[in-house]
């Protein structure tokens, strides 16, 4: 499948360095001392059990939740200690897909994709409409453009959320479980779409996913969050973590095995 993107010199993706990130709700610590790096144009998968803190870390990276300690640096400048104007300028380069889609419920899918352009971009309504149609087409929702979020299925909502995240040609994409609710073919198409985004826009992608096939297919590196110890394992290639991961849990996780099950020798 071929995807077309604007050739208007896309801004280079920033390098992202997360150092000593500790996330907590009130006194309850969710994750401590998480370190990882996203090189420009690379794809990082955040994996781990349900409730381990993947979405929470994503929220710290996009500026929605202040970390208890640690830093999230874009091109060397810590997001959370930057002045508000710098943060806003940086946030304009982000494309974010929320776990629940977070589509604006009073707007049609097309208006959902148009709104970021209308509020922040330049151009005319005709440009926006054309581009919104293109984005919806990319995720296979061209026919549903005029529908409201309440009138589409969960998987369609996810795809519409992706189309919206792509509205401003982001240089960093944050995707929270984009393939949850997608059928295998749609999920495969999404992987292709993400790879071509990286290729054509040079975008970096941070993806939270439970889809192992997708982790192995597209992720350059992978960070495993262990809810038991509230720590993250050192970042590594997915196959490396599967075959030689430092803990039995991560090896089992990536092999889709139950770590507690006793395996009898063959």
């Amino acid at each position: 499948m071929l995807f077309m993107f604007d050739d208007r010199s896309p801004t280079r993706a920033p390098s992202i360095e997360v150092r000593g990130l500790t996330m907590a709700f009130a006194a309850r610590v969710i994750m401590r001392d998480v370190d990882f790096t996203v090189k420009p144009g690379s794809i990082l998968a955040l994996i781990g059990g349900s409730g381990s803190g993947k979405s929470t870390i994503l929220r710290a990276m996009v500026g929605l939740l202040r970390p208890a300690s640690g830093s999230v640096a874009y091109d060397g400048a810590d997001y959370w200690s930057s002045p508000p104007a710098d943060r806003t300028a940086l946030a304009r380069r982000f494309g974010v897909l929320f776990q629940g889609g977070a589509l604006w419920s009073s707007l049609t899918l097309e208006e959902n994709v148009i709104l970021p352009m209308q509020m922040l971009g330049r151009g005319t309504r005709r440009d926006w409409t054309t581009k919104a149609r293109e984005r919806l087409e990319m995720v296979g929702l061209a026919d549903a453009a005029a529908r409201l979020p309440a009138e589409i299925s969960g998987g369609m909502r996810k795809r519409a959320g992706i189309a919206r995240a792509l509205a401003l040609d982001p240089s960093v994409l944050f995707l929270d479980e984009p393939s949850a609710g997608l059928d295998p073919i749609a999920s495969r198409r999404l992987d292709d779409l993400l790879l071509s985004l990286r290729e054509h826009l040079g975008a970096s992608i941070v993806i939270v996913t439970h889809e192992l096939a997708s982790v192995f297919a597209i992720a350059d590196t992978c960070v495993f969050l262990d809810a038991g110890t509230q720590t993250a394992l050192p970042q590594d290639r997915p196959t490396e973590l599967r075959d030689h991961g430092p803990t039995p849990l991560v090896r089992a996780f990536l092999r889709r095995e139950d770590p507690n099950e006793r395996r009898s020798a063959p």
Binding site: V62, G63, A91, F98, W104, S105, M119
Partner: protein, 271 residues
């Protein structure tokens, strides 16, 4: 140490309540400040909000509220005339019902009743809408784009309510006076012409200006607090209900407090 006695627990409860109110007031004040900062941009027309949101809010806070504003104000005007008539007729002063209805409706009742109706209707609906958006992460989706929810969500709604409430007040005055007239005509031997003539003597433009200005304040207050309560809601369905209830309670109590403040202030000015 034994567990704290009831007195200490009550004191702690009061402390927490005061703290909650203080946070609420601080938050609403900050929101109000944010709105004032966004106002110049709004007047230049370069605000990050959708025009259609504003138009929807105008409809919601405007003509869609007409039926209930009509009913409530007509009945209040009628009730005032009825109570007045019963008393005044005993002194042979039936005609002064027009004075009573006129002053009471224009200066107080049309303003306060219309504002209370709007607190229950539009304030509740704004709070529920914004709380739902908060729960769906729709507000977060704006924030990550660098779009301020105050500018995008609160400003169009608060502006709409500040514009429509004074207009609804003028309409409420007309309906309330009509209600008074209808009851007087039925109960007393006061003709329409006499009633209107008496009204003209009792009322002057000042009374309307006072009611109008009060409604500007009520509208701004309701718009800001109901949106603020909605935005502060947590992420569950129960929070939507809670936000709606507190928007209405805060709205009604606030309106009455503002009205009392106006009364004291105007009294000091001898108006």
């Amino acid at each position: 140490m034994s567990s704290p006695g009831p007195l200490i627990r009550a004191a702690a409860g009061i402390g927490r309540g005061v703290e909650g109110v203080a946070y609420g007031v601080a938050g609403a004040t900050a929101l109000f400040g944010g709105l004032l900062l966004a106002l110049p941009a709004a007047l230049r027309g370069s605000v990050r909000a959708r025009r259609s949101d504003f138009v929807d809010a105008l409809a919601e806070a405007g003509y869609r509220a007409l039926p209930i504003v009509t009913v409530v104000n007509f009945l209040v005007g009628g009730i005032l005339a009825f109570v007045g008539a019963v008393q005044l007729v005993r002194f042979g002063a039936g005609i002064y019902v027009a004075n009573l209805v006129g002053i009471a409706v224009v200066r107080e009742m049309a303003a306060v009743m219309t504002a209370i109706v709007m607190a229950g209707r539009t304030g509740a609906s704004f709070a529920a809408r914004l709380a739902t958006m908060q729960g769906n992460e729709e507000v977060d989706a704006l924030v990550v784009l660098g779009i301020s929810p105050v500018e995008h969500l609160v400003l169009p709604r608060a502006a709409a309510l500040t514009i429509t409430l004074p207009l609804l007040y003028l309409y409420g005055c007309a309906v309330g006076l009509l209600g008074g007239l209808a009851v007087s005509a039925l109960l007393l031997d006061v003709g329409t012409a006499a009633f209107v003539g008496q009204l003209r003597e009792a009322l002057n433009a000042d009374q309307f200006v006072i009611g109008f200005v009060k409604c500007l304040a009520f509208g701004a207050f309701l718009g800001v607090t109901s949106c603020h309560v909605g935005l502060r809601a947590g992420r569950s369905a129960a929070e939507v209900g809670r936000a709606t209830t507190s928007a209405v309670v805060i709205g009604i109590v606030g309106i009455i407090a503002i009205d009392a403040a106006f009364a004291l202030f105007l009294n000091a000015l001898h108006v």
